[in-house]
């Protein structure tokens, strides 16, 4: 059955090359629901009573003379739960987003098929194979952006990531002489350390961990929004899937902890994650381009997951997985909302937008809810995830990580408000804009559903990840449906919710006690001046956070991107130097030939 799903995905991808936009999106949307059935079926295995569709859990596929071992594990089931549902909804969204079919759908389907494949792979070759397919199919989607930096940086970083992963896998293969992941076990010493390190480096490219994030702002800000939603929501999780696989399921974290007696190397991952969260948040605050802001926000939010993996206690891992789940949905919603705004207005700069909340109220609601989850407002599931991570950091007394995490959490308010204010509130610049098309709205609201469910019942989330954790030998933490309990404290979402509703009562009485009158937007107090429309300096979102810019930015500006550019230029200089070997004079070439002959001869005879 698995091979049928794969075959249908691939055939659909090929068909969508040739059909029109609407048919393509319908095909893509419906075909991509198939893997979800597989998800439901596998749920049986983990104690959920569901209907069986008769999909096998194991499958071997032969490609180019090599057998790929595919199958679902509890871990990949959990990750599939967060990644796979994104796809049909993004297809639903793209139904009205694109004007014509110009190569988006086929590669999107390839990316989806390979994502499915990565989650299913049970041996290193198929993991790497699907990883690479995912890389190139997403590269081709980036290629549609026609942006130089995006194309070059994405391809270079993808290849770098692939090679780093390949290097790690190769070492594991060399140590065990088996490609099956389940056979890996006898890795230790320097080889194990290098393998795990290079795997983490490789995966951290896709999961945009800080020094290797340099591609993300370009790619996120220039590609098609539906793809970016999938990239940020879905594909970035694959990096963490890989990390989890090698760190916890395959005991990589023990290797990192025990490699040197005094230094726990996994702490480094946590530090990198926290720096990533902090610095990216600071940079996100400074962005005026909506997509760049969301890109840096993604980098920051994904940094939390790395912190969780780095800390490595059950509490932290639970928090990290929770955060991954949340991020998949809220960031997808945010990117889709940004796309809907751009679809209607054609603008990306926050300072050129404004006042869309009353024009596009449903889009605003979706974005608002996603931002609540992003900023970890209590009672949203975003808070539960971050709370677990904070608790974990305090529990382990990681005094360097905890403040950075928390201040990044505060910074999230700042850039969230920049989105809310600059795009949806403030000056009403687009009086004639209509609400986004129905399919877009539907996609965004359905994507919000999981977040709403886990608002009240964070305990369900912990139940869902229980099989994944227990399969990796990680105990799950004490919880009820509403409350999570750690050794340090307790968080009861129901108490918060009920009290909030109760506290709404006096507020509502005050609200209802006096009638109010809604005035027009122009009726604003500006020292008696009438409102001047379309004066950029009157829009406060213009140069928002300017005071902070002068203080903070100098410390972050020459960031990773700067150094990667230096490296790129350095290779360019090297290249220009090396090209001089080819002088254009055939006499020189003749001399090279003679020298080569003599050298080889000399080497062979006298060595």
């Amino acid at each position: 059955m698995l091979d049928i799903i794969f075959a249908e995905l691939i055939i659909a991808a090929i068909i969508t090359f040739f059909v029109g936009k609407k048919i393509a999106s319908i095909i893509a949307g419906f075909i991509s629901i198939l893997p979800l059935f597989a998800l439901i079926d596998w749920a049986n295995n983990f104690g959920f009573k569901t209907i069986s569709f008769g999909i096998e859990r194991q499958m071997n596929i032969s490609v180019a003379g090599i057998t790929l071992h595919l199958g679902i594990t509890p871990l990949s089931w959990f990750f599939a739960l967060m990644i796979l549902p994104l796809f049909p909804l993004i297809m639903l969204y793209s139904y009205s987003f694109f004007k014509e079919n110009d190569g988006f759908y086929p590669f999107m389907l390839f990316a989806f098929a390979s994502t499915f494949g990565i989650l299913l792979s049970k041996d290193m070759l198929s993991l790497f194979l699907f990883w690479e397919i995912m890389s190139w199919s997403s590269f081709l989607l980036v290629y549609r952006s026609r942006d130089k930096e995006a194309i070059i940086s994405y391809l270079i970083f993808s290849v770098f990531s692939a090679f780093a992963i390949l290097f790690g896998l190769m070492i594991l293969w060399h140590e065990n002489f088996s490609l099956l992941l389940s056979d890996i076990g006898r890795i230790n010493g320097i080889y194990g350390f290098i393998a795990i390190a290079s795997l983490i480096i490789g995966f951290s490219v896709k999961s945009v961990l800080m020094p290797l994030h340099a591609w993300a702002p370009f790619v996120y800000s220039k590609s098609d929004e539906p793809f970016v939603a999938f990239l940020s929501g879905g594909l970035s999780k694959l990096g963490y899937y890989g990390m989890f696989l090698f760190l916890f399921t395959l005991n990589g974290v023990k290797i990192l902890q025990n490699y040197t007696p005094n230094v726990a190397w996994n702490y480094l991952l946590a530090v990198v994650g926290s720096l990533s969260a902090f610095v990216a948040t600071m940079l996100a605050i400074m962005q005026d381009d909506l997509r760049k802001l969301l890109a840096y926000s993604s980098i920051g939010q994904l940094g939390y997951i790395a912190i969780g993996f780095g800390i490595g206690t059950p509490l932290a891992i639970t928090g990290a997985l929770f955060q991954a789940f949340n991020h998949a949905f809220f960031k997808a919603v945010l990117f889709l909302a940004a796309g809907a705004v751009a679809y209607r207005t054609g603008k990306w700069k926050i300072s050129e937008l404004g006042g869309l909340a009353y024009r596009m109220p449903l889009t605003f609601l979706a974005a608002l809810f996603a931002i609540f989850a992003l900023a970890a407002i209590p009672i949203t599931s975003g808070f539960a995830a971050k709370w677990l991570l904070y608790e974990a950091a305090i529990q382990q007394k990681y005094v360097f990580i905890a403040p950075l995490m928390l201040i990044a959490g505060v910074g999230a308010f700042l850039y969230s408000f920049r989105i809310l204010y600059g795009v949806f509130l403030g000056e009403n610049r687009y009086p004639d804009v209509k609400e986004a098309p129905k399919s877009m709205i539907a996609a965004m609201f359905i994507l919000m559903l999981p977040l709403i469910i886990f608002v009240v019942f964070p305990g369900y989330m912990l139940d869902l990840m229980k099989p994944a954790l227990s399969n990796s030998g990680i105990e799950s933490i004490a919880h009820t449906k509403f409350a999570i309990e750690t050794s340090l404290a307790k968080y009861n979402s129901m108490a918060v919710l009920i009290t909030l509703i109760a506290a709404m009562v006096p507020a509502f009485i005050i609200y209802k006690a006096r009638k109010h009158r809604i005035t027009s937007f122009e009726d604003n107090y500006l020292a008696g001046e009438p409102y001047e429309f379309h004066n950029p300096s009157m829009h406060a979102a213009h140069n928002f956070y300017k005071p902070l810019k002068g203080v903070v930015l100098p410390y972050f500006e020459p960031g990773a991107t700067y150094y990667f550019e230096k490296i790129y230029k350095g290779i360019g200089i090297l290249s220009n130097g090396i090209r001089r070997i080819y002088t254009g004079f055939v006499q020189d070439y003749a001399i090279y030939v003679v020298i080569f002959l003599l050298a080889v001869m000399g080497w062979l005879i006298w060595m």
């Binding site: 009353y358 918060v496 609200y511 109010h516 809604i518 500006l526 829009h539």
Partner: protein, 318 residues
């Protein structure tokens, strides 16, 4: 839980919400009086703020800018009440066992975010600038505050405020956190952060009336402004209480049957003292610019807080 228990709990919570509101308004009035005395003026009567709120709520016209504007009213009062009820007040735990300090930290953001949403929805550029300043201020003062918070957390090995209060009240005043040298530093940093939280001078940059026409509140009038005044009053109590819970043992000095009366009075006295301190600082300093405030918190205060954190860390590791 039985019905009686729930009813008692609800009554207690309601009582504390009302007490918090009244105490806050009273303190604000006293604060105005004190500032007036510092300025060598007579000043308004101490109950002036009750009158102000009553007047604002009884205004005939209330101008709104749409439903998002109304969120400011709803979220500011409900959010701050929620925060207040998750704090242990004078040794009474209220709901503080159901959450912890991180929750309180984030709950404090709910009213702020609602307020900011309303201000933004008004479309007034001054409001936008004001909210921007408020958020930058938040980013500024949260860093030293968070660091001191973490110092306390790792020292007591808990994140629950109720536990922190309980552990500080074992030996009465002697076991208060502020009696320990590292926490003296931390308390200093946290007090400065409190000054920013209360938006008193020299950190009243977000609402600077002379520059940006009282910033976020520029379009607020009538019941909206009244609710914001209530919010500010409760926030005053909640934020000072947070400080008291963290460093001053929650004001718990006595144990026993009727100890809660003593503890309540001590708590009231402590938050009053903190508020007076803050008012006196406010009365004697001019306003910072926003980047100066940011630099102040992230350079000096954060370093002081970090020293205390490192000190505590060394103590704990040993």
């Amino acid at each position: 839980m039985d019905v009686m228990g729930i009813a008692i709990k609800v009554a207690l919570l309601t009582a504390y919400a009302v007490i918090g509101t009244c105490v806050g308004l009273l303190f604000m009035g006293i604060g105005r009086k004190i500032i007036a005395r510092v300025h060598n003026r007579v000043g308004p009567p101490f109950y002036q703020n009750f009158i102000d709120v009553a007047k604002l709520l009884s205004k005939k016209t209330n101008i709104s800018h749409g439903w998002i504007f109304d969120l400011a009213l709803l979220f500011s009062i409900s959010g701050i009440l929620l925060t207040l009820l998750f704090l242990p007040i004078g040794g009474v735990q209220l709901l503080s066992m159901e959450g912890d300090a991180f929750l309180v930290l984030y709950l404090l953001a709910i009213p702020a975010l609602g307020f900011a949403l309303g201000a933004g929805a008004s479309g007034n550029p001054n409001a936008g600038v004001g909210v921007m300043r408020a958020l930058v201020m938040m980013l500024s003062y949260e860093l030293p505050f968070i660091i001191t918070l973490i110092a306390l957390m790792i020292y007591y090995d808990t994140t629950s405020l109720a536990t922190i209060v309980r552990m500080q009240s074992i030996n009465g005043v002697k076991s208060w956190a502020i009696t320990m040298p590292p926490f003296m530093l931390a308390a200093f940093a946290a007090d400065m952060a409190l000054q920013g939280m209360l938006m008193e001078q020299p950190f009243d940059i977000p609402v600077a009336p002379h520059e940006i026409a009282s910033g976020p509140m520029v379009e607020f009038g009538g019941k909206y402004l009244g609710s914001l005044m209530l919010y500010k009053a409760i926030a005053l109590v909640a934020e000072t209480t947070l400080f008291v819970d963290l460093f001053l043992g929650g004001g718990v000095v006595a144990h026993g049957n009727f100890a809660f009366v003593i503890n309540f009075i001590v708590w009231l006295a402590l938050i009053f003292l903190l508020f007076i301190l803050s008012i006196l600082i406010a009365a004697s300093f001019p306003r910072f610019r926003i980047e100066q405030a940011f630099g102040f918190y992230w350079k000096y205060e954060a370093i002081i807080a970090a020293i205390s954190l490192i000190w505590v860390y060394i103590l704990v590791i040993k």
